[in-house]
């Protein structure tokens, strides 16, 4: 936890309501997200018990497994879920937009929007991953055949879960994490994992304080857990008798009655979370989006388009494990995305940038001197190189010779000529770029005396990635080339299944 977040948490305690830790929204929120609340059966690894799913707050679809230990019913549940989720995904596979970038690039198209699945918490993402793993290798022919939609669902769930590891991606989001990115509550990060308690701090019902709302959220009768784990008392006193009744039911009418009671009980467990999820969506929608949210969503749309194409070409399901080269390449992607995402958030949001100002990696100050028409005549060609002096109260720990930039002027670089440390500190900067082609700067392109600016060495400019060896050239140090991956029936078996 950073010092500023710790301060915000202390303030949240003092004022009994969560404090904003960002000025803009850093996640994309779809116009029509799909909310998915899965429940699992206690004691059975990733055995689905129920799910409430839908893209309309007014009509939730409830899927229930009457006997979660029965594998046939499990895959019938998966087929039901596939109808909803694949149907939702299909609605994004028609409208396309032009995505050609650069003047000389190939013309390229991508889908104009992408699906967005919201689960309550990080454990929900884990459940999506495991359900994907248990369904993507299944076959719709031969022994133990399943509905043809089940393996397709498995691949999409795996795609979403893997994409959720990618920093800044919004195809699959956990509501608690999206909220915690924007508000600091007065409780511990572990308590923040409870969606109801966190929402209580962020948006307490009228007449209640944050801590009161969070305390009320701890009662499992009024606020059942947001899943995938269920409340143990509910398990023992309600769920177990109802499942037993379903198993005992003799005749269609009795079975129908038993199942209806089970559905009613599970609906009671899921509906409060369903309402909380849409409240969280509403709260996030209320924040103005950051400037770099849309480009990141474009990358998500590219990933979605890419996977649709891959599936259309008959690509095999994602392998159980990454090969040596795939693992190294994936780590490289993730690290780049992580670094870029952290910097983009800082550039979008002064409150995030404040963290960097605290550590001396950025400073904000006022322009106290400017020489907008300065010409550098030392080279072969005369160049426009204005000088400005920024005076700041921030602790400056940037050395001369560093190249800085400021969030509002992306095309302009500022070379640190000299730093006069002290309070206030004075930093002399030489500007280049973003001022037009003439030797006189375009009006407004050079900061004027009195302007307040924030400069930082953080840059989200493109970093070149060097190639990895091809899979068939995996070197001897890493076990040599792996055998070609052929999906097999054994892929679907698990030691615990």
């Amino acid at each position: 936890m950073s010092t500023l977040t710790a301060l915000a948490r202390a303030r949240a305690v003092a004022s009994a309501v969560a404090q904003p830790i960002s000025t803009v929204r850093h996640v994309h929120v779809s116009d029509r997200p799909l909310v998915l609340i899965p429940l699992a059966l206690a004691g059975e690894a990733s055995a689905p018990l129920a799910a409430m799913v839908g893209d309309d707050p007014g009509s939730a679809r409830l899927l229930v497994v009457a006997q979660p230990r029965n594998r046939d019913q499990r895959f019938a549940f998966a087929a039901g879920l596939a109808t909803v989720i694949l149907g939702y995904i299909d609605t994004f596979r028609s409208a396309v937009e032009d995505a050609s970038s650069g003047a000389d690039r190939e013309p390229r198209q991508r889908f104009a929007d992408a699906p967005q699945v919201l689960v309550p918490n990080r454990a929900g993402i884990g459940f999506v991953r495991l359900l994907g793993r248990s369904t993507r290798f299944r076959r719709s022919d031969g022994e133990y055949a399943v509905d043809p939609a089940v393996p397709v669902l498995g691949r999409w769930l795996t795609f979403l879960a893997e994409r959720a590891e990618y920093p800044g991606s919004c195809l699959l989001l956990a509501a608690t994490e999206a909220l915690a990115l924007h508000w600091a509550s007065g409780q511990s990060p572990v308590e923040d994992l409870n969606l109801a308690a966190l929402l209580g701090w962020v948006d307490p019902p009228s007449g209640m304080t944050g801590p009161e709302a969070a305390a009320a959220a701890e009662d499992p009768l009024t606020c059942p857990p947001a899943g995938p784990a269920t409340d143990p008392t509910f398990d023992n006193e309600v769920l177990a008798p109802l499942i037993a009744a379903c198993a005992r039911a003799d005749g269609d009418a009795a079975a129908h009655r038993a199942e209806a009671s089970l559905r009613a009980a599970l609906s009671g467990q899921l509906t409060p979370t369903w309402k909380l999820m849409w409240r969280a969506v509403g709260l996030l929608r209320g924040l103005p989006p950051g400037g770099r949210v849309a480009p990141r969503w474009d990358a998500d749309k590219d990933a979605f388009t890419g996977y649709v194409t891959y599936l259309g070409e008959g690509g095999p399901p994602q392998p159980r494990r990454d090969s040596a080269v795939a693992a190294a390449r994936r780590l490289d992607w993730l690290e780049r995305a992580q670094a870029g995402y952290a910097i983009q958030r800082a550039l979008d949001d002064p409150l995030v940038m404040a963290e960097y100002r605290m550590t001396g990696e950025a400073f904000a100050g006022t322009v106290t001197a400017a020489e907008p028409g300065r010409i550098d005549g030392t080279g072969r060609r005369r160049k426009l190189r204005p000088l400005i002096t920024v005076t700041t109260e921030d602790p400056v720990r940037i050395e001369a010779g560093t190249v800085l930039s400021t969030p509002g002027r992306p095309g302009q670089k500022a070379l640190v000529v000299s730093v006069y440390a002290g309070r206030p500190a004075r930093v002399v900067l030489e500007l280049s770029g973003g001022m037009g082609r003439a030797l006189i700067p375009v009006p407004g392109s050079v900061p004027e005396v009195g302007d307040r600016l924030c400069y930082t060495a953080l840059s989200d400019s493109y970093q070149r990635s060097w190639p990895f060896p091809a899979r068939e050239q995996t070197p001897w140090t890493h076990g040599g080339p792996p055998p070609e991956y052929v999906p097999a029936d054994e892929d679907a078996s698990e030691v615990w299944s």
Partner: protein, 469 residues
Amino acid sequence: MTAADVPQTSAEAEAAEAVAGVLAGLAGLATRRGPGGMATRDGPDGLAGLAGGRHRGVVVDSPPGAGKSALVVRATVDLAMAGEPVMVVAQTNGQVDDLTDRLALAAPRLAIGRLSAADYVPTPRVLRHLTVSVAQQAGDLAACPVIVATAAKWATLADGIWPWAVIDEAYQMRSDMLLRIAGRFERALFVGDPGQLDPFSTVESDRWLGLAWDPMQSAVAALLRNNPGIPVHRLPVSWRLPATAVPVVGEAFYPFTGFRSGTAPQQRRLEFATRGFAAWSADEPIETAAASGWALYELPARHTVRTDAEAVVACAALAERILQRGAVSFSERAPSGELVTADRIAIGTAHRDQARAVRSQLGELSVAGVTVDTANRLQGREFDVTIVLHPLSGRVDATAFHLEAGRLCVLTSRHRHACIVVARAGIPELLDAHPSTEPVHLNVPAKFPDGWEANQAVMAHLSRHRVRA
């Protein structure tokens, strides 16, 4: 007369024997390549024939200051003299420049290539050698039998195969980096210190746990897991650490292998040219450290932010006081004593913001030239006296990062004479309240030493040299 030429003590003899064993092993592999000795480009079949069932790699584990760099230089020069082009891989530009300098001094007639990125500015210690050429393309250095570069630079090469690679600080290199450069060499000598910091990443990497090619492992771990037969040698003698430090560092961080000190207990001494004041709080810890090699300067227990202002002031004040008192070090290098100047003192921290805070405090005291850096950046460096801001000082919790054995090992094994640890009271209690809770994963080799245990061992020893502020 150098230690390697005429062994004088049993420690020297032992160390020389270990180095000779490694070099003989390399020579054995090299001479089996047959006449010509040039790199073959005829694909895997030719390589397999040359390997003839022998190992394609050798690993040398080296405790702190055991002559690792000297071994790298000798192995490189020997291989190059035998007609085998060598690629030398180090992890940072500073390490590459150091190695280039040492290679050029060791073999004055050997043409050495320094392969670099476009924004690299050659340092004076590289430019002073006429035999060293600096270039950005490997093709421009084709005439050099030895080419030195960072691993990151080697990873940009798409072709070329060298018969030998010498990889320095191999435990600092990540497995995915080795994957990128492994196509460039046929055989390799991996040299490094297994007790130092493991490579790290800022992203979640659990999905690869247990795989033999987990990209988050160190290069040596990946190599040994995929090639179990590779011989591992060990350098037995630390020339850096004084006799007072070897038992502590050995027991805490190298519990199964151990090593010995190259110097006798009385060979290293630290004295002061001036007398201290009884009332001056910074005098007692530095005198304790001078007498026993260790001191724990203990501030009152308190939970603090990372840049604990009092601890930062204490670190800077200790460095200032050592300089004011005119510390003189007596060692096998300088039997009649030499002044401990600012460049022989280092202050080590766990986090970069702590290092920045100490640096600005030193600036306010007008103390210049003292090295202040994080454990990651102090790896491989050596000083007379080190001052360590304990990673757990003032913390509410003990996370895996702060418990990591390698971090404390780096911080407490950089000194030739004395190490002063600055910490808030209560670290043993903090450790007791935070036992290791890291999950155990299938197929992941157990890591020794355990950070929790190593921290306890070091604190147990330091408690005997405690000075309360």
